[in-house]
């Protein structure tokens, strides 16, 4: 017991080492939230392009179809490359090759960009499955009222799709949060890197690593319960 208290003291109190954990949590959440926003935008756009292309089958006329064909091809390339390579490798390429001339002040933004692009690929396929899960009659009803394709998607199909895929999206968000723990590879002091620094000072891994495991778990639980609340609100229209 004395040993444990001593470890706690060394890990958190001595030299104000709790700050590594506090700023680590902040960095981890910042990367996650920025990547989430970017990933959602990319994901929805890619999903809409892919669905629009799929729904065009049998009507292959005009310039619009050619443009859509090219966009669809680009989206498929993006999905293949991003889902086919490890997010850690993408992060390394992003920081050490693509943005090698960028000042290290922008490291967090580059990490967020890298994870956002990565997450977007997974979100895209989740959203696409959601769009496909909405009955064809819904978009027909929207179109028959004179709404165009984009309006029908925006007001009718995507809201219903989001509701159907919310559990899968929560899953993706949790994965994203945990994947940011490799940020240390490029030298960003996120929560995991913070614990590694503390361990290098105290020469004892037990408390720092168990502590961040608990901290990650708490963050995940917070996200799950927050989104669980949202899900219940979205399901209000299902009540009979």
């Amino acid at each position: 017991m004395d040993w444990f208290l001593d470890q706690l003291w060394q890990t958190f109190v001595e030299d104000n080492r709790w700050r590594y954990f506090a700023s680590g949590i902040a960095a981890t959440l910042e990367v996650t939230v920025l990547a989430l926003i970017l990933g959602t935008i990319i994901g929805v756009l890619v999903a809409v392009v892919r669905s629009a292309h799929d729904s065009q089958r049998g009507n292959k006329k005009g310039l619009g179809h050619v443009v859509l064909g090219v966009l669809d091809w680009l989206c498929k390339l993006y999905l293949t490359v991003i889902r086919g390579t490890p997010s850690t490798v993408q992060l390394l390429i992003m920081w050490f090759i693509v943005f090698q001339w960028v000042d290290s002040d922008y490291m967090l933004l580059v990490a967020a960009l890298s994870f956002g692009i990565n997450s977007g690929a997974y979100v895209a396929e989740i959203v696409r499955s959601g769009i496909m899960s909405v009955d064809q009659g819904q978009s027909e009803a929207g179109r028959s009222l004179g709404l165009n394709y984009a309006q029908t998607m925006q007001y009718i199909v995507v809201p219903q799709a989001i509701k159907n895929i919310l559990p899968a999206l929560v899953n993706e968000l949790i994965t994203l949060l945990k994947e940011t723990s490799v940020c240390g590879f490029i030298g960003l002091t996120d929560l995991t890197k913070g614990a590694m620094i503390v361990q290098s000072r105290t020469y004892s891994p037990v408390v720092p690593y168990l502590a961040i495991a608990v901290l990650y778990l708490v963050m995940v639980l917070a996200i799950s319960s927050l989104l669980g609340l949202l899900e219940r609100r979205l399901r209000a229209s299902d009540k009979r």
Partner: protein, 240 residues
């Protein structure tokens, strides 16, 4: 009002519409009957381009809607459609279902559209359902609201695609009653239906479709009283 010339539609090798010529005048109530697979729903869905015709032309109020340059969204605002499966938007309340398109297409303000929606709900006999969600309503009620939703656009013609086929028998009457009132008010209507009683009493003209063609057409009295086409006689002997 609607002029159809040599309309054909095929799905792959399967020819569904084998050349249809038809002229529908303002104020007419046209009932389309025929065995399943005869192409009657496809014909109706071609009229507002929910199905893209393979060949032929359709003009609506003097505009060739099969011309790729025509803004089909604009034309669809003047053609209401009612579906077999109602296709109400389950994530929106009844009021929001009705006012969505007029508001988003900027034809009315939110208040105007809300007022109009309440007026229409009164007309279809459901004045107290504005805040309900579609899933809380019976099939008959949902279909009456779907009619109100289409009417909110002030269409010049109403297309009905087997509006009572998905209903429990005891709810068919209430929907037909609303359609009859609509007909009495002078609305131009094209109704694909299996309700021979409705075709006989409300339609001004009845079309019999068989194997992708209009095999016979006449006023209801002649149509049901002295059918000529042997396939029609056989069909009527089965359904009457």
């Amino acid at each position: 009002m609607i002029n159809v010339k040599n309309l054909t539609k095929s799905f792959g090798d399967h020819l569904v519409l084998a050349g249809i010529d038809e002229h529908i005048e303002k104020g007419e109530k046209v009932a389309v009957i025929g065995p399943s697979g005869s192409g009657k729903s496809t014909f109706l869905r071609c009229l507002n381009l929910l199905e893209q015709p393979t060949g032929g032309t359709i003009t609506f109020e003097g505009v060739d809607i099969t011309d790729p340059k025509t803004d089909i969204n604009k034309l669809r605002t003047r053609m209401g459609m009612v579906f077999q499966q109602f296709n109400l938007f389950p994530h929106l309340s009844v009021l929001e279902n009705i006012r969505l398109a007029p508001v988003k297409l900027k034809l009315m303000t939110k208040d105007q559209a809300g007022e109009k929606a309440l007026e229409l709900l009164k007309r279809v006999g459901l004045p107290d359902k504005a805040d309900a969600y579609p899933k809380q309503l019976s099939g008959g009620q949902q279909q009456r609201i779907a009619i109100a939703r289409a009417l909110a656009m002030n269409p010049d013609v109403m297309l009905f695609d087997e509006p009572t086929s998905a209903l429990d028998p005891e709810m068919v009457g209430e929907v037909l009653e609303i359609m009859k009132e609509l007909a009495d008010d002078g609305m131009t209507m094209v109704v694909v239906t299996h309700e021979m009683g409705f075709a006989r009493s409300v339609a001004t003209r009845v079309l019999f479709m068989d194997e992708g063609k209009i095999a016979e057409q006449a006023d209801p009295e002649t149509f049901f009283g002295s059918p000529q086409n042997p396939r029609l006689r056989e069909f009527l002997s089965k359904v009457l």
